[in-house]
């Protein structure tokens, strides 16, 4: 009998103890207007799974199966493998053994993909990275060593075709599972902090992979399938430019999704391009504003119209009866 569940059985599984529910806490924060540590923490809070599948292998036909659910994508051999292939197992992109007191990462489907059991024994607990001196190579992926900061360290190089997928999976893991007790080998990739969460080595390598292998349909479909099972998405698949705001060439800038107005935040630049949009997910749309005590009739103010310094914003919403205040800063 197959180890995998049919879609119908999977639907049943969602209502059984095979699914581990996770207690959600508080409202999901918005990402707009946040930068660096605030953005990283907001991603970690907003994109947490609401439940986990206790045995990911059982749902691989849904996340990594072909159209008829008779074969699974084996990224480590660049082939489709029959779901009857008993050598297929769950492979963690970042080794779960790095986390000494958190088992969620071992079964989080964004960190778990199907692959031959051999992959686990060959790549051990190595981090993903560049391999300069291969010790094992099947023509698709490798393990071996690279000298990092003068030290020879073991890595595995993911399949070329999926390096971007692996990078976005690591970025997801780094923002959601960045704290706790980590094994020393984890510090090649993770720095153990809320932010930047990734080491300089990791952010450089992962950004290269992320840029050279952009999101494709395979990854988007997997995101949809995992969302149906875990209740969360990998934001680095949906919003690839998030990586640039956290670690790349837009680091330090407040994030706004493409086409959306930048919500209110703390600091603006005195530039013709920087505008203060009097909007926020936290404030009703019908808010009536004053800036530095004077009423404003427009919803957008150029930073240059206010000038450098601190500015005091107040609002009142006729429909909800709420009122509020905040201060913003405009810097040269």
């Amino acid at each position: 009998m197959s180890r995998f569940l049919s879609p119908v059985l999977t639907a049943v599984l969602l209502l059984t103890p095979g699914i581990l529910s996770i207690q959600a806490s508080g409202a999901k924060p918005q990402l707009g207007g946040k930068s660096e540590a605030g953005l990283c923490r907001a991603i970690g809070a907003a994109y947490r799974p609401t439940q986990l599948v206790a045995d990911p292998v059982t749902v691989f036909p849904l996340t990594d199966g072909n159209a008829t659910r008779t074969a699974l994508r084996d990224r480590f051999n660049n082939r489709w493998a029959s779901i009857d292939d008993e050598t297929l197992a769950a492979v963690n992109i970042l080794p779960a053994s790095w986390w000494e007191r958190n088992n969620d990462i071992a079964i989080d489907l964004y960190n778990t993909i199907p692959g031959p059991q051999e992959v686990n024994s060959v790549k051990k607990n190595y981090p993903p990275g560049i391999v300069n001196a291969p010790e094992w190579d099947n023509g698709v992926w490798q393990t071996g060593t690279t000298t990092v900061s003068g030290i020879d360290a073991a890595f595995y190089a993911p399949p070329e075709k999926f390096k971007g997928d692996f990078a976005r999976a690591v970025m997801y893991a780094a923002t959601l599972y960045n704290t706790g007790w980590l094994a020393s080998i984890a510090f090649t990739i993770l720095d153990g902090t809320d932010y930047p969460a990734l080491t300089p080595y990791a952010s450089r390598i992962l950004l290269d992979w992320h840029r050279s292998d952009p999101v494709d349909d395979i990854e988007t479909e997997r995101n949809n399938a995992v969302e149906a099972l875990q209740g969360n998405r990998n934001p680095f698949v949906d919003f690839p430019d998030l990586a640039e705001f956290l670690w790349g060439n837009r680091k330090g800038e407040p994030y706004a999704a493409e086409g959306e107005k930048m919500p209110l935040h703390s600091t603006y630049r005195l530039s013709a391009d920087d505008k203060i949009h009097l909007v926020s997910p936290e404030i009703p749309d019908d808010a009536v504003w004053t800036v530095n005590g004077s009423p404003v009739s427009t919803a957008t103010l150029p930073a240059t119209a206010l000038g450098t310094g601190s500015h005091h914003l107040r609002f009142r919403s006729p429909s909800t009866g709420t009122s509020g205040c905040l201060m913003i800063k405009i810097v040269p």
Binding site: G26, G33, A45, E282, T320, T322, M327
Partner: protein, 167 residues
Amino acid sequence: MPDDKNRSMKLPALIITATLAMSVSCGHKELPRRGSSTVQPETPGGVLPEPERPGHNPSDIAAELNDPTPRFIYGGITLRYDDGGILFTRYPDGSTVITDLDGIDRITLSPGTMREDSTFLSPRLSMTHGEMTIVSLSLLKRDDKAAWYCAMFPDSASTIIVLPTDI
């Protein structure tokens, strides 16, 4: 029977003592009267000795009461109006939400109904990661710019929360 009589007299005395200790622990000398628009900072001379007032000393209290900057500082969370990007929102039910627009921290204080002694009935405080138990909440001072509240926590820690009154 004298022992029983002593015991029955000790219980109310203990309750009164505990209540007094809690009410002065945030630096009260006299509790502000309900309805007064401004409560002046206390003078340090009349407060209880240091060991009975966990978390604050008279000069700390005076400095806190002289600073009208809206703020919440407790449990590793610092939200100050003057840092920028910290939104204070007042709701019609009297609750105030403090939100860090650059980050994820969010505090909701629902004081509830104020009693005549300036403590509040059933106050509620929720922080970013969930509800916090507060032993007591009292109003220390209020003027046309801000209101200073003292929240006491089960571990005897306390903090002064300053909320804007002019919004």
